[in-house]
Amino acid sequence: MGEKLLEIKDYSVTFTSDKVDFYAVNHVNLTVEKGEALGLVGETGAGKTTTALSIMGLLSKYGTKTDGEIWFDGKQLTGMKEKDYRKIRGKHISMIFQDPMTSLNPVFPVGNQIADVIKIHNPKMNQNDVNSKVDEIMKMVGISAERKFDYPHQFSGGMKQRIVIAIAIACNPELLIADEPTTALDVTIQAQVIKMMRQLQQELNSSVILITHDLGIVANFCDKVAIMYGGEIVESGTLEDIFDKSLPHHPYTIGLFNSLPNIAEKTERLKPILGLTPHPSELPQGCKFHPRCPECLDKCKSGDIPSLYTDGTHCIQCHLYHKEDA
């Protein structure tokens, strides 16, 4: 077991809008160790991005209720003063946002945007050192330093995403949160970005939380996986725990895998999960997945579903496997 870098304990987020409560994240427990890559998998509305923004301390204060604790490197992040948070954000924890087209400022050259992060966290550094650091980081992400005077619109999608990554790694963060970093990109560019992220992770020994809905990228990049549904983590474990088809799995995980067309063998017909993801304002009672679950039992329809079948690292939140244990 490595050293714990990030620990999320029983964490929940509720948004209130027009007197309606949206249960975005519900009782999530997560740990990330040093140098580890965690894949956070789920569909739209599963609460992946809300979890990420909570770690970054970027949730809006208004209409948001949080519960539980987030610990980072021995410090509690939940309830931290904004002034202190700013020293951590960007330097120790940083985030790559989903859409490179909108996360850069269109009116500043990209070099300035990278330099900003460095200057904020190293106020005493002189301009020459900042400049050479910018050059070094741009080289690291594979863009020639001559282009630092160019504006975002002069770059292609893949290059823009690399600039966003450059900003995120400018201060060698211990934890990098990548929120669907390649969703907006073509497969060949995606391969370049994933390869680069892996190199950086090894060079800087950072931990990474990779948020994605693409199980292919997870299999390729991550050490640990957590699968989210309806704001809960329904299954978590090491990469082998989740991807080994001979082990028991949460019905949602099985459904996710069956929904993917397989490249290796020709499947005549996909076996999708029936129904739709529940809206966070109308989460069902009991197991959040039970209305769509092919193996739903009576006891799934109400009450808490405890995390069961904990086999070392593998954890499934489902009644099905409790039966076998008892």
Binding site: A191, G216, N220
Partner: protein, 321 residues
């Protein structure tokens, strides 16, 4: 008999756009044939001209050069009444179910519109019955008939788009990335729906996508495009078993496979970025990123040759790999 099977033939189709910096070669000499009831998958990265190709075939935009034969008839320059009639035979499903539906129309109005325009039913009741029937076909509950698109989620909205495009029972449907905006579990539902429709009604699809695993699942034949030119065309199975063009190979190796047996598999990472399609230089368009490129590639465009039965490749060095 063979003639009757053929539904669509595209001959040397070209579409250039004028830009301030010169002509943008969006589609540059694409030819293929498509039989009734078959699906051709068109694959390529963003900006390779896939969507332009689909739209040019449908006459949503006019071609610069080349011919499109549909059902034995040259439709490249038809207009007026004839074009209107053609529209009832070829349809499109758009990528983005959020922007391709009119926000001010209800579900029934959207699905009804093509029926109205083409005056299929004289009687309003019959038309309404058809709308309900269409909603049932695409798996939309009848209670949504008076809702607006914004009240529905992506999967249901895409079902409306599908209902609208099959309303006139067309022969040919261009599917322009119909599932790429959807979540995986919904994506599988829509793909199954489209395959069922094809089996039941004998539709012919042109399936445009950048997602290779989806295209393999749904297509009989696959056409790989790179910057408006065809680089490889063959049956779906053969393309995945025996890709020949270096671009196809790189594309296939870049697909992340959800299986830990493939962990750490090195994708053939291509260097560089796509060259500009504006006034492209002579020679192979892929030469700038190709690991095998020589001076010949940079000066001479490779021909699209049949290297084995029904397997076409545009590469000077297809036999030297």
């Amino acid at each position: 008999m063979a003639e009757e099977k053929l539904l669509l033939e595209v001959k040397e189709l070209k579409k250039y756009f004028d830009t301030p910096r010169g002509k943008l070669h969006a589609v540059d000499g694409v030819s293929f044939k498509l039989n009734r009831g078959k699906t051709i998958g068109v694959v390529g990265e963003s900006g390779c001209g896939k969507s332009t190709l689909g739209r040019t075939i449908l006459r949503l935009i006019d071609s610069t050069e080349g011919q499109v034969l549909f059902d034995g008839k040259d439709i490249t320059h038809v207009s007026g009444e004839e074009l209107l009639k053609l529209r009832s035979e070829m349809q499109i499903i758009f990528q983005d179910p959020f922007s391709s539906l009119d926000p001010k129309m209800t579900v029934s109005q959207i699905i009804e519109e093509p029926l109205k325009i083409h005056k299929v039913y004289k009687d309003k009741k019959e038309r309404e019955a058809r709308v309900v029937e269409l909603m049932e076909i695409v798996g939309l509950d009848e209670r949504y008939i008076n809702t607006y698109p914004h009240e529905l989620d992506g999967g249901r909205r895409q079902r409306i788009g599908i209902a609208r495009s099959i309303a006139l029972d067309p022969k040919f449907i261009v599917c322009d990335e119909p599932v790429s905006a959807l979540d995986v579990s919904i994506q599988a539902q829509i793909l199954n729906l489209m395959m069922d429709l094809k089996d039941q009604h004998g539709y012919t699809y042109m399936f445009i996508t950048h997602d290779l695993s989806v295209v393999k699942h749904i297509s009989d034949e696959i056409l790989v495009l790179y910057l408006g030119t065809m680089v490889e065309k063959t049956s779906s199975d053969r393309l995945f078993k025996n890709p020949i063009h270096p671009y196809t190979k790189a594309l296939l190796s870049a697909i992340p496979i959800p299986d830990i047996a493939y962990k750490g598999r090195e994708a053939q990472v291509m260097k560089g970025e796509v060259t500009s399609p504006i006034e492209p230089p002579e020679g192979c368009r892929f030469a700038a990123r190709c690991p095998l490129a020589t001076d010949k590639c940079r000066s001479e465009s490779p021909a699209f040759v049949e290297v084995e039965e029904d397997h076409f490749v545009a590469c000077h060095y297809w036999d030297k790999q």
